[in-house]
């Protein structure tokens, strides 16, 4: 990437999809395409982030996202440090703001943050001088997941505009769903959400999506079926009566997938609960994009880090 990209993100940080324009999103996707090719070479290294320090600060356990950001940072030449802070550390007495001030004193260039509370990453970003990437905050946003999903869709369908995307499952607790709704709507897709009413957030009908309470209706003619993970503690009686009943009505199996468009593709942000929200046969079928999503994850995160790094002082 010798030439500077034609655009830069308007802000210093990537805290969410909200506020991004269609052209900003498309430019990130275009840049990510280049990294997809790079990542398939033997020599995968770039030097955009050479000399830079990237800290992955995860207040919530994550294997997939954390390793994806780590590989992305390393391939761009950054020194990457992983800090996994159990949520208990806040209980030890240090406020999130103090943690931010402490880290800031170590002069990192990029902070990648995941936190279990909505808004926590934005709070931290206000207190540090470096650029901050939201790797998921509570039930609010997970912007790089939405970007990698969009890249995956575009590579397989050739476009996003005009596609019908059904986001199915625990929309209530899902930051992936919120970021995807924002991004896909911005790029002109028709977005549906499909879930039992107990797993739909209040006011979801004002999000510019079509709301369905049954898979049969919601999957009709869908080009993309995006399944969401249902947390184990929400399965038995609190939000849905049982795993068995949930799978029966909302688990994606081959029969339900037949309702969708003939060439519909299946996505899942992982980690999957096989037999809860998705049937193994569907997850492993040729129509599943789940493995490709992981590959796109690294490329998209490289694109994000690369773009933000160009805005750093002395870049």
């Amino acid at each position: 990437m010798s030439s500077a990209p034609a655009f830069t993100l308007s802000g210093r940080d990537l805290l969410g999809i909200e506020g991004l324009t269609a052209s900003e999103i498309l430019s990130l996707l275009d840049l990510a395409e280049e990294f997809v090719e790079l990542n398939r070479q033997i020599e995968k290294k770039r030097s955009t982030l050479r000399g830079r320090t990237q800290i992955n600060l995860f207040f919530e356990a994550s294997t997939r996202t954390q390793s994806s950001f780590e590989i992305a940072g390393k391939r761009l030449g950054a020194d990457v440090m992983n800090m996994s802070v159990g949520s208990s550390s806040v209980k030890k007495g240090e406020t999130l703001v103090d943690t931010a001030i402490t880290l800031n004193a170590m002069h990192p260039d990029i902070l990648v943050v995941r936190h279990h509370a909505s808004g926590a990453v934005a709070l931290l970003a206000r207190k540090v001088d470096c650029c901050v990437v939201n790797a998921g905050d509570g039930a609010h946003e997970h912007p790089t997941q939405a970007l990698l999903d969009a890249l995956t869709i575009r590579r397989n369908k050739g476009r996003i505009e005009g596609l019908t995307v059904a986001i199915c499952g625990d929309v209530l607790h899902s930051r992936v769903a919120r970021s995807n709704i924002l991004l896909l709507s911005t790029l002109g897709a028709r977005v549906r959400v499909v879930a039992p009413s107990t797993l739909l957030p209040a006011g979801i009908d004002q999000f510019g999506v079509e709301v369905y309470r049954s898979m049969e209706a919601g999957l009709e003619g869908a080009d993309i079926v995006m399944m969401l993970r249902l947390q184990r503690e929400r399965m038995s009686g609190s939000f849905v009566p049982s795993v068995r009943e949930y799978f029966h009505y909302f688990g994606l199996d081959e029969a339900k997938l037949r309702i969708a468009a003939k060439d519909a593709l299946v996505m899942h942000p992982g980690p999957m609960n096989r037999g809860v929200e998705i049937d193994s046969a569907v997850a492993d079928s040729p129509r599943s994009l789940i493995r490709e999503q992981v590959e796109m994850g690294v490329a998209v995160r490289m694109a994000v880090l690369d773009t933000l790094a160009r805005k750093l002082p002395n870049a």
Partner: protein, 438 residues
């Protein structure tokens, strides 16, 4: 009623001249002079000064200013004993004085809880020794605020508790509340109840589209209306005096109106925060707007303002809840709820007057006369013979609120850097000037 204050020396007589005198207890609003001596109001009339200045009296020209009864704040959380790092009776009283509050009613969720006459006595003695305004404690309805066993209502009232409340907790067991209402009735004691169903209020803000966009768990309005409806059914049966501590939504006002029309002994408060802000102020996850009960929609705020104007809602409170940075510099859902409000109560309330939503006499009634009547306090009036608890304020003086200048020990004000119009110039308690804006 025992008074927490006693003065070593007699304050100098004071003649507040050429003022716009507003006495909501008599619906009076006229230009004139107010004469205070021996700790009481002597006279309020036009031309007092012209008829001759009483010997030894200090004359204060109050032209352009309003003279009104000192404010009576029914709901202020103080923190002494147990949470002195957040607020002491002394710091709260200075904040109150700066805000024109001459009678502060503190809440029982201290450590230890105000559920024993000795604690009531402690607070009254500490207030007498350290506070510059009148302080009256509310006592707990149930021991330890646990919602299980009734406190000694009779002894606590005799010790000086002006009402009974479980602070920010609703008593979820209907039988316990029913017994408390029944027993309290025999002592003519007032039950002040927080109306928020504990099982429905695990969220961080008002439930709705906006909470969903922020990814914050919501608290439905039903959390409030369910408890209010239940409580008023109980009141209809036992006829104990009941006061809803802080209503937030339009649906609750309908419930309240029905109960009042049915003649139940029911009154209600609304906090200045819920009259000033709505759920959209939470944007940016600003934790100073994390309140309990939460800020609601703009329609609710408008309905509350109309209810203040019509008198359906009786009382406006500061709902002063001091929190330090430890409790507020956290992600929104983990931050402690509450905002300080003693010093901004009047200027924030005057916004309603400046926007022609509420007339100033009605407004001052909800801030002084009505709470004094409900609590049975000799306050909220300028009648001759009443204690000389008086404020002088310029309703049109604009200023920008600088949190660093607040008297409160905590700084968690949602009016941070806000433009306000109307400023207290003098606060007088028992004839003595306890705050003066220079």
């Amino acid at each position: 009623m025992r008074d927490a204050r006693s003065f070593a020396r007699e304050p100098r007589p004071l003649l507040l001249a050429n003022a716009r005198i507003i006495d909501p207890s008599r619906g009076a609003d006229f230009t004139g002079d107010l004469y205070l001596a021996e700790g009481v109001i002597k006279d309020a009339a036009f031309g007092l000064a012209a008829a001759g200045i009483p010997e030894g009296a200090e004359v204060v020209d109050c032209a352009g200013s309003v003279v009104a009864p000192g404010l009576v704040d029914m709901r202020a959380f103080v923190g002494e004993p147990g949470f002195e790092h957040l607020e002491t009776l002394a710091s709260a009283s200075h904040a109150a004085a700066a805000g024109g509050v001459t009678t502060l009613v503190c809440q029982p969720d201290t450590d230890p809880v105000v559920d024993d006459p000795a604690i009531v006595d402690f607070i009254l003695r500490r207030a007498r020794d350290t506070a510059v305004v009148r302080v009256h404690p509310m006592a707990a309805i149930t021991r330890g605020l646990k919602g299980e066993e009734m406190t000694e209502v009779g002894l606590l009232k005799a010790a000086g508790a002006v009402a009974f409340t479980d602070a920010h907790k609703s008593i979820m067991n209907a039988l316990i509340l029913r017994r408390a209402l029944t027993y309290a009735r025999d002592f003519d004691a007032l039950i002040v109840h927080h109306t928020e169903d504990a099982t429905l209020s695990n969220g961080a803000m008002n439930e709705g589209e906006f909470a969903s966009r922020l990814g914050l768990a919501g608290i439905p309005k039903a959390a409030e209306t369910i408890i209010l409806e239940r409580d008023l059914r109980l009141v209809a049966g036992v006829r104990g005096r009941y006061h809803a501590a802080a209503l937030t939504c339009a649906e609750s006002l309908e419930v309240l109106e029905r109960a009042k029309e049915a003649g139940l002994p029911v009154t209600a408060s609304v906090s200045i925060n819920h009259l000033s802000f709505n759920e959209l102020d939470v944007s940016g996850y600003r934790t100073y707007f994390r309140l309990q009960p939460p800020l609601r929609a703009e329609e609710d705020r408008q309905a509350l303002i109309r209810a203040v104007s019509s008198g359906l809602v009786d009382v406006m409170v500061s709902d002063h809840v001091p929190q330090d940075v430890e409790g507020k510099r956290l992600p929104f859902s983990e931050a402690e709820p509450g905002a300080i409000g003693l010093e901004t109560l009047l200027p924030a309330a005057l916004r309603l007057v400046h926007s022609d939503a509420v007339d100033i006499v009605s407004l001052l009634a909800t801030l002084s006369t009505r709470p004094a009547q409900i609590l049975g306090l000799d306050a909220g009036t300028l009648k001759p013979g009443a204690p000389a608890d008086v404020i002088v304020f310029d309703p049109d003086l604009p200023f920008v609120l600088e949190p660093g200048q607040l008297k409160s020990r905590s700084r968690n004000t949602p009016f941070d850097e806000a433009r306000l119009t109307g400023r207290v110039q003098r606060t007088i308690v028992a004839g003595e000037v306890v705050y003066e804006y220079v």
